[in-house]
């Protein structure tokens, strides 16, 4: 019995050790990427191309998701607030919920799904077919050209996509409210922002740059380190989504606490 317990402890200990080593490796990868972002060559053309791939091509997805979530949140908010006769506060409540938490988190998770899988699979396939070695052999820093540009693009794109989600969510809320109460568009928007300050919008939006860093780093790391051919490409893609999504949810707790400390007015 004692031996069984010690076996479980050993295997849990080994698992924790592997997880910590993995986190250490990914953190070093991300730190190196951050450092290299500010070193020549800046690979601006490739960053612009990646912002287009990662950011612009995600717009339909995040806008549609924001709209749907805005409609649903509006219905729930109305259900709660009309019990207290506070229907007039629906736009402001919905906008605050979207801008401060729902919008940033939703954007992070959606982009982790779409882009994390894409980066993991693309770099994994390039690794498996020696295209990364071919870049190096052509005297190009493959880490900088492939990983740093994608991570930078994620960091740039996430805050912009978050604003798109916020506004499409607010618009979704308007559509739901207009259908129920016939509220005017201008009045709804005025009420949406009557309780909002820059302290609500700015930190919550900028924290998604950290989500971008996490998505880009984890997906690029898994793509660069896959070693199992085609099967490894699939695994890198799946793990990119799972680990980036989980990391975003966990890091979000820390970031929200940090925002409350730095901006106590919230």
């Amino acid at each position: 019995m004692a031996r069984d317990t010690s076996g479980v402890v050993d295997s849990v200990g080994a698992g924790v050790g592997r997880a910590l080593a993995w986190i250490g490796d990914v953190s070093c990868f991300g730190a190196r990427a951050l450092r290299d972002m500010f070193r020549r060559p800046f690979e601006l053309d490739e960053i612009v191309r990646q912002v287009h791939e990662i950011g612009w091509r995600s717009v339909p997805l995040v806008a549609a998701a924001g709209l749907a979530v805005g409609i649903v949140l509006s219905m729930h908010t109305r259900d709660s607030l009309e019990r207290f006769g506070a229907e007039a506060k629906i736009p402001a409540g919905l906008a605050l919920a979207l801008v401060r938490e729902t919008g940033p988190l939703l954007t992070g998770l959606l982009v982790a799904g779409r882009v994390g899988a894409g980066i993991g699979a693309e770099l994994g396939a390039m690794n498996a077919t020696e295209q990364i070695d071919a870049l190096e052999a052509t005297a190009i820093d493959a880490f900088k050209y492939l990983a740093v540009t994608r991570i930078a693009a994620c960091v740039i794109a996430l805050p912009v996509l978050t604003i798109i989600v916020d506004f499409s969510g607010i618009f979704g809320g308007f559509l739901a409210e207009h259908a129920v109460s016939g509220i005017d568009f201008r009045l709804y928007f005025t009420r949406s922002f009557e309780l909002m300050s820059f302290d609500d919008l700015l930190p919550a939006t900028l924290k998604t740059a950290v989500f971008g860093l996490i998505i880009g780093t984890i997906a690029s790391y898994l793509g660069f380190t896959t070693r199992e051919g085609t099967e490894g490409v699939g695994r890198a893609s799946t793990r990119s989504v799972v680990l980036a999504s989980l990391s975003i949810i966990l890091i979000n707790v820390v970031l929200v606490k940090l925002i409350f400390v730095i901006f106590p007015s919230q």
Binding site: Q131, D133, T138
Partner: protein, 251 residues
């Protein structure tokens, strides 16, 4: 560049992957303007040796010198400078699959020269013509046959006029006619442009065509080197067997 140093010097190279010792104390020199063919069965460490020469792998022991300069002691900038003078043809071509053949060949020029686009286009077409792929400028790599992919990879490696060309299995998975065309192309490069060649292959007739010096590697150890005729009459039974079993007639 040191005029007396060999183009490539490999000294006591050893490499282990996990429990497997892939290279064990491998040493050889390749003189400037000559061709060196590394022969051996699959999985004996030939491609690993080639990747050490261009610095894609770091040795556990030993060193590689290009023109007298040690690859392992260089920082990234110095390594990039050296790599600009080396062409590398991968076994499976390793073409960038999201861009066309023309863009693949233009890629090193766009990165390492300040040439205008029209000059790049002319150079790319010249190089594609050299490997017989002038009609495939706009073709995507996925639409090429195995032999065409290999030739496109060769064009990309040649576009900067490298002084040293490393070729991994030029005839692997190719029909004999295409393999012979590629071998002739490599021979022509050496004779016409004075390019130093290091070719990894298991194709003995091809190595006889291209190689000034042939070496046989087995289980990570270099067991013999010399001219094709010297190896054919080697005292080492494995070398003799390898040369005889894979001879397939001289070309």
């Amino acid at each position: 560049m040191s005029p007396t140093a060999p183009a490539v010097r490999v000294e006591h190279l050893s490499k282990t992957f996990g429990p497997k010792r892939v290279l064990d104390d491998v040493s050889f020199d390749v003189s400037r303007g000559t061709s060196f063919c590394l022969l051996g069965r699959s999985g004996t460490g030939k491609s690993v040796t080639l990747k050490h020469i261009i610095g894609l792998l770091r040795p556990d022991a030993g060193r590689v010198l290009i023109d007298g300069k040690e690859i392992g002691a260089m920082d990234r900038a110095a390594l990039s400078d050296i790599r600009r003078g080396i062409g590398f043809v991968f076994q499976n071509a390793a073409l960038f699959d999201s861009i066309t053949v023309g863009q693949n060949v233009a890629f090193p020029l766009r990165r390492h020269t300040d040439w205008p686009e029209d000059r790049i286009a002319v150079r790319v077409r010249e190089t594609l013509e050299q490997v017989g792929l002038e009609a495939e400028f706009e073709t995507m790599p996925a639409d090429l046959s195995g032999g065409m992919r290999k030739r496109a990879g060769l064009a990309r490696a040649l576009v900067l006029d490298p002084a040293l060309l490393l070729v991994d299995e030029p005839s692997a998975a190719l029909d004999p006619l295409t393999a012979m065309e590629i071998n002739r192309l490599l021979l022509d490069l050496k004779q016409r442009a004075g390019t130093t060649l290091v070719v990894v292959t298991h194709d003995v007739p091809g190595a006889r065509t291209i190689g000034d010096v042939l070496a046989v590697i087995d289980e990570g150890r270099l067991i013999a080197s010399g001219t094709a005729d010297e190896l054919a009459s080697s005292d080492h039974p494995l070398v003799r067997t390898f040369m005889a079993d894979n001879a397939g007639g001289r070309r």
